[in-house]
């Protein structure tokens, strides 16, 4: 018995010595392929988009490889453009705030509802939610465009049938109704992730805590905000970060709507503006500068969240 123990102890210490050295090299060997891909395809392009933004970079420059540096002229032009302040920035930031708040609030509400259901209805409802989630952004957008189509869409038909509307209305020309449809589309597409994630967290909250609180006379709202929310702090942090990242990057949902690809200037957001300037007007330098501004905006906002999550993790 004792002999056996010393033997295992020996075998345990021997590989450990060589493993110590391997442990410093091995993680880098494992990381190397992924880091190479990220460096070449994400980090280097990020440096390049910044370099492009300092140039008058058009079709000629792309084909000949010539460089014409113009310093911060692109940025000056963007910042001096009244369109940026009255249209593009409000569309981008306002929409992102509304859609993050809307998606997280609605998704959380759905999660609470699901948690209170029996197994059968919970399965039915969450399968339906999966169906909404699975709808690709491109097809989802076309379906919403079809529903709200001016001449033959079902939305106008129903409103006129109910006598709420006299003539078919084109909901895509007005900036507010345009973005209301985008918001509907984005919430419909985005709430399932929030609901499913928060539901998983909710089911993990110790029941004893909730029961104890209920016995102490805490109402449903009180129980939600005093017990569930603090328990799910990390889940909410993740859900909010990811929703922010996804909602700021909304592109297809705007670009594919009627007028969304640049012909209706009042619905431009930073992403679409950058794309149509680059690939529509061949002003790649100018478009790059817009893209850099969008990136900085996103980084600034999300850096705050990321620090919160990492701080939590290191504890």
């Amino acid at each position: 018995m004792t002999q056996q123990l010393t033997e295992t102890r020996l075998r345990k210490t021997l590989p450990r010595l060589s493993r110590a050295r391997a442990a410093t090299v091995r993680p880098w060997l494992l990381l190397a392929p992924a880091l190479a891909v990220l460096a070449v395809l994400l980090l280097w392009p990020l440096v390049r988009v910044f370099l492009f933004s300092l140039q008058d970079y058009g079709l000629r420059e792309i084909t000949t490889g010539e460089l014409s540096w113009i310093g911060l002229e692109n940025y000056a032009e963007i910042l001096a453009s009244p369109e940026l302040w009255t249209v593009v920035l409000p569309n981008t930031v306002g929409f992102a705030v509304l859609s993050v708040v809307g998606t997280v609030a609605f998704g959380t509400g759905v999660a609470v509802l699901l948690a209170s259901l029996g197994t059968f209805w919970r399965t039915v409802t969450s399968s339906a939610i999966m169906a909404a989630w699975a709808m690709p952004a491109v097809t989802g957008t076309y379906v919403w465009v079809w529903i709200f189509d001016a001449d033959r869409g079902v939305f106008n038909d129903v409103l006129m049938g109910l006598g709420l509307l006299d003539d078919p209305t084109n909901w895509f020309t007005d900036r507010w109704s345009f973005y209301a449809i985008v918001l509907l589309n984005v919430i419909h597409h985005g709430f399932p992730f929030v609901a499913v994630t928060v539901l998983a967290g909710l089911l993990g909250v110790p029941k004893e805590m909730l029961e104890a609180a209920e016995m102490d006379g805490a109402g449903a709202f009180r129980r939600f905000f005093s017990i569930i929310v603090p328990q799910l702090r990390q889940v909410f942090a993740v859900v909010i970060i990811l929703s922010t990242i996804w909602d700021f990057k909304v592109f297809a949902q705007v670009y594919l709507m009627p007028g969304g690809a640049g012909s209706n200037r009042s619905v431009l957001n930073l992403g679409v503006w950058s794309y149509v300037e680059s690939f529509g007007q061949n002003r790649y330098g100018f478009g790059s500068a817009i893209a850099v501004l969008l990136t900085l905006l996103l980084l600034a906002i999300t850096a705050v969240y990321v620090r919160a999550v990492l701080a939590e993790e290191e504890r």
Binding site: T8, R11, T24, R26, P27, L30, L31, P33, A34, V37, L38, L41, L42, L43, W44, P45, L46, R48, V49, F52, I62, L113, T125, S127, A128, M130, A131, A132, A134, M135, P136, A137, V138, T139, Y142, V143, W144, W146, D149, R152, H188, F193, A200, G201, L203, K207, L210, I245, F248, K249, F251, L256, G271, Y284, S288, A291, L294, T295, L310, E314
Partner: protein, 284 residues
Amino acid sequence: MSGNRPLRRTARRSPLRQLGKGVLVALLLVFTLFPVYWMLNSSLDAQAGNTSSFWPAEPTLDHYVFVLTEGGFGTFLRNSLLVALGTVVVSSVLALLASVAVARFRFKMRTQILMMVLIVQMVPLEALVIPLFVQVRDLQLLNTLIGLVVVYVALALPFGIWMLRGFVAAVPVELEEAAYLDGASWGRMFWSVLLPLVAPGLVATSIFSFITAWNEFIFAMTMLGGATESYTVAIGLHSFFGIHSNDWGAIMAASTIITVPVMIFFILVQRRLASGLTAGAVKA
């Protein structure tokens, strides 16, 4: 599921409460499923676009036949399948290796690398599409599916690493120690212990990469602009809409064809996908 029985026993079960809950569930189902239903309904109706009917007024499969033959969606589906599978294979292997490194080893720069993996996910595609367009053009890979796979691997990789590292971290270190005690090498331990236990996470990550590649639009539009025969489904639908913008029955049939594979996928693996997202995102 059995864990929440005590809670339900204490919950008040007044009929009014049950009714309210039923109404909420019904509203939720309508909101969630109506667009899906409307897409199917229009795709099956020969009268789609002429009258708004809540069920197919004149049921037909003609829209599907048209879309798959003249619409070119047979080719687009094949292209998307190739691109998505290529992306899944390459990005899963790279993400698995990297996630083992960040989940199992403490080394200098570990936190910085994790931070970078998080931050690159924030970069908007609009910022990457200009330089990557130039880069892929210089490599003469414009209008090729390989060029697209290369880009999609990069897009799917950060999230894959982030997600898989939670699954790797969840494997008890004691199991690895036991493998070493039995004299296994690190490589042997990786194949026989770690890999089988991380398999569910790998499935979740693969599905996520597959869907990323299947749905991606902006790069497909930019890089495949000139070559219809290399279109993926997303850009195929965009160009189809440009040509047949009034044929809503056909547009919805094409949309259904694109959506259904993804939807079946999602429903089949829903529990795994949800646990995958939270595991990768929440666990340290």
